[in-house]
């Protein structure tokens, strides 16, 4: 597999000025991570683990204090290539209300390509196909404030797709949505990854969302704690608990049963897997 984003020994700190003394806060510490083309990676961590900060390193919004980040072989600290990087890596933020610029859906989706200087007919094509990809085409003439949270977030995703990036970073895109909106957004993300082969980096603190990824990276205090397939990562229940992180409910249940002496070999990730295993045990 081909590496797409490469973070090499990245540290990030900022200075917080208290009344008299300058306090240095380390957000990321000597972090190295490689993300391959076409992967669906979930980055997990609780508040303050540095996961959002890391996300903003991937599209040159933040530059590392130490170390280097390479996107598609381009060094993110290269000021001249800043916009090249941002067309390759799109970033979707948490609050859909604060990232929609125009008062008509299709004009907002066109905002990115317009900034890139794409010709008008080409923008039209891209906007239509982006809106179809997130299943919001029927809403193209609507005003964004009349849409639901999940729909707004899909419009925001369409706005990024219209720039034709090879990678989309989503920074807690579902944190402000209801369960239905979360589901809509997740289905869209999975579809984009499978059908268009777009690399997806999903920053989240919901375990259930992380389970859907090919690979889960768990962060704590600016460092990578665990990195691997969801099944492998969530089998380290003890480590996760020690760092105040949850595991999916199904895994949690089976873990507790196991510690009480029930014979279980493999940890389930989803409710349906859990039911199957329980049925097998209870027979």
């Amino acid at each position: 597999m081909e590496a797409f984003i490469k973070a090499e020994h990245v540290s990030f700190h900022y200075e917080n000025e208290d009344e008299h003394q300058v306090v240095q806060k380390n957000v990321l510490e000597d972090l190295s991570l490689t993300i391959n083309k076409g992967e669906f990676v979930a980055i997990l961590g609780h508040n303050g683990s540095g996961k959002s900060t890391l996300a903003k390193h991937f599209n040159a919004m933040f530059l590392p204090s130490d170390g280097k980040v390479f996107v598609d072989g381009i060094d993110t600290s290269d000021e001249e290539k800043k916009y090249d990087i941002r067309t390759r890596v799109g970033l979707v933020l948490q609050n859909p209300d604060n990232q929609i610029v125009a008062s008509i859906v299709e004009e907002d989706v066109a905002f990115g390509p317009e900034n890139l200087g794409v010709p008008a007919e080409e923008i039209r094509k891209r906007v239509d196909s982006a809106l179809k990809a997130v299943e919001m085409y029927e809403y193209r003439m609507h005003a964004p404030y009349k849409l639901s949270g999940g729909q707004k977030q899909r419009v925001a995703i369409a706005g990024v797709i219209a720039m034709e990036p090879s990678c989309i970073v989503l920074d807690e895109p579902t944190a402000m949505l209801d369960p239905r909106g979360r589901n809509e957004v997740l289905t869209t993300i999975e579809k984009l990854n499978r059908e268009k082969g777009i690399t997806i980096i999903l920053i989240t603190h919901y375990m259930d969302e992380a389970v859907k990824a090919d690979r889960v990276v768990v962060m704590d205090e600016g460092k990578i704690l665990l990195d691997g397939a969801p099944r492998e990562v969530f089998s380290h229940v003890e480590i996760l608990k020690k760092h105040r992180l949850d595991v999916p409910q199904a895994t949690e249940l089976m873990h507790r049963l196991k510690s009480h002496g029930v014979n279980i070999n493999e940890m389930p990730l989803t409710a349906s897997e859990c039911i199957k295993q329980l049925e097998a045990i209870l027979k």
């Binding site: 990232q99 610029v101 008062s103 066109a110 906007v127």
Partner: protein, 271 residues
């Protein structure tokens, strides 16, 4: 409460006015407004009045809506026309103490009130038949020559776009904050004006804080989408002048020359 606000006064339809290019609409409306104020006799005025009647009729917007838009200026309308009534010089037709009404005064009053009504009707027919976003778009393109004077037209247009986009969001937010403060026992509906204004402070402070936070996030989102000002930016929506625009331009030119001819060859009653 504010869920169903409509921005601007746009009234959907498919009339000639709706189909016109917003740039042409703005230019023609401005021309007509200028010519309302250089009508010096009843023939010229009558010509403009007839034009406005045709515009209102063509707009496909109920006349009731136009009359409603007069409501806001009814006081100014009455005030200025009554004042003008006593303003004219010449032989008095009627007088009481220092007040006297002259023929010139009556003419003044008629002209002023009709001019104000026309002004409102013309500007309303523009806002009734044009989406606010199309208006900002058209203004951006019309003001483009100002770029040579180092005025960044794109930035002004972007500000208008963002303002339009965030009005509903901030209204909704105000609503939420007001409910939250009421739940905490804030009293916003009673007391005199000073007390009520004071009661708005706990609403305005969080609203401003949140608006700044939104602005910060929006700026970041725009940067993520490669926004770097107006330079090198293309637009998806292109504006094109069509046949309708040129017919309307022709009609307005004929009317304008008619008004000029009336002013030159017929006696003026207004100076």
């Amino acid at each position: 409460m504010v869920r169903d606000i409509t921005l601007g006064q746009f009234f959907p339809g498919n009339s000639i006015l709706h189909r016109m290019d917003p740039r042409m609409k703005i230019i023609l409306m401005l021309t007509l407004i200028i010519f309302i104020f250089i009508t010096f006799n009843f023939f010229a005025l009558g010509l403009v009045v007839a034009t406005v009647v045709v515009i209102v009729g063509c707009s496909g917007v109920p006349v009731k809506l136009f009359l409603k838009s007069l409501k806001a200026v009814i006081f100014i309308l009455l005030f200025t026309s009554v004042l003008n009534l006593f303003y004219g010089s010449g032989t008095a037709l009627w007088h009481w103490g220092f007040l006297s009404i002259t023929l010139a005064g009556i003419y003044f009053a008629i002209f002023i009130s009709i001019r104000i009504i026309e002004l409102i009707f013309i500007s309303s027919s523009l806002t009734f038949t044009t989406q606010p976003t199309d208006l900002t778009d058209a203004i951006e393109r019309l003001l483009k020559p100002l770029n040579h004077l180092h005025i960044s037209v794109h930035e002004i247009a972007m500000m208008m776009t963002i303002a339009l986009r965030f009005i509903p969001t901030l209204l909704e937010e105000t609503d939420k904050i007001m409910s939250a403060q009421k739940a905490r026992g804030a009293d916003m509906e009673s007391g005199n004006i000073v007390q009520r204004i004071k009661a708005m402070i706990p609403v305005l402070v969080p609203l401003f804080v949140s608006a700044f936070r939104r602005a910060y996030e929006l700026a970041m989102a725009m940067e993520c989408r490669c926004y770097r000002g107006g330079e090198g930016r293309t637009r998806m929506k292109q504006l094109h002048y069509s046949k309708v625009d040129f017919y309307c331009l022709g009609a307005v030119l004929i009317i304008v020359s008619g008004v000029i001819l009336c002013n030159i060859f017929l006696p003026a009653v207004m100076r």
